[in-house]
Symmetry: C2
Subunit: 172 residues, 2 copies
Amino acid sequence: MTFWNFFFNNKKTNSTKNTSTKILIENLNESRQQLDIYYSTNKDINLYDLEQLCDAVGWVKRPIKKVKIAIENSFLIICIFHYKENKKNLIGFARATSDESFNATIWDVVIHPDFQGKGIGKALMQETIKQLRYHDISTITLFADPEVIQFYKRIGFITDPDGVKGMFWYPI
Amino acid sequence: MTFWNFFFNNKKTNSTKNTSTKILIENLNESRQQLDIYYSTNKDINLYDLEQLCDAVGWVKRPIKKVKIAIENSFLIICIFHYKENKKNLIGFARATSDESFNATIWDVVIHPDFQGKGIGKALMQETIKQLRYHDISTITLFADPEVIQFYKRIGFITDPDGVKGMFWYPI
């Protein structure tokens, strides 16, 4: 019943930038225990929960104020929640910037270490692609650390197509 | 005098997404002829002029309607105009998507073939970086075709830092 309440309590907006539909991704069987994993594209997330999630994977701390601006100006936000004992916990996150027409770039993909290796990251990426494709965005890009390149390749991402190189500029 | 008129005729807005400041980049000497090259960050550009510019470098034609949406949803637009005989011609263009906080990605960098090799592309990129840095964006990214990788390297862009790879997903 909790889940249905959760469905109904969330407001829907007309903005493509802030939809709040929530769909059950998977019930994962894990040693007889069922995990209830939902995703949300609602931007109104608890930034401290996100900070805690990023801390759990060892990311460098970022000012909450800057994270807030980044989320507001992202085209797409996807959060993954785990429901347990009537509580929802943020266990996954991804966002994308976009021109809402041709291109999108995915940033900040994270799955809590306790939930890695269960196919949740793959589900998160597939949902991200689905959402971007729904908006007819054909070029979906990201910048992958060496240890996750194979993960993205399995989802269908390719490196350096026709010699095109991802390039970075950082302040000196 | 034309130039001053041009300055005053352009409206200023409060939005960071649509500033219309115009600054002289360079007066380039070319066989005793002076070229007056200006840039603009005003999004209110003639989309047919942009199409003509992209045609001149042989880019695949894109629907004007989609280009319009992409420009509206870009964080930064930079146009380069050449002034000649009281007429302004669009000879350069670049745009960037951004979360307006951490990251930006530069797209659609183009200089008209007649104006290539004069340092205008470099000036365009330096101005793009300057504008993004003004907004405290520290990670500036782009995807470079093989033939322009050296150009971007000279400006300070690097490929695959710490093994980070630019990756692409295209619809099958």
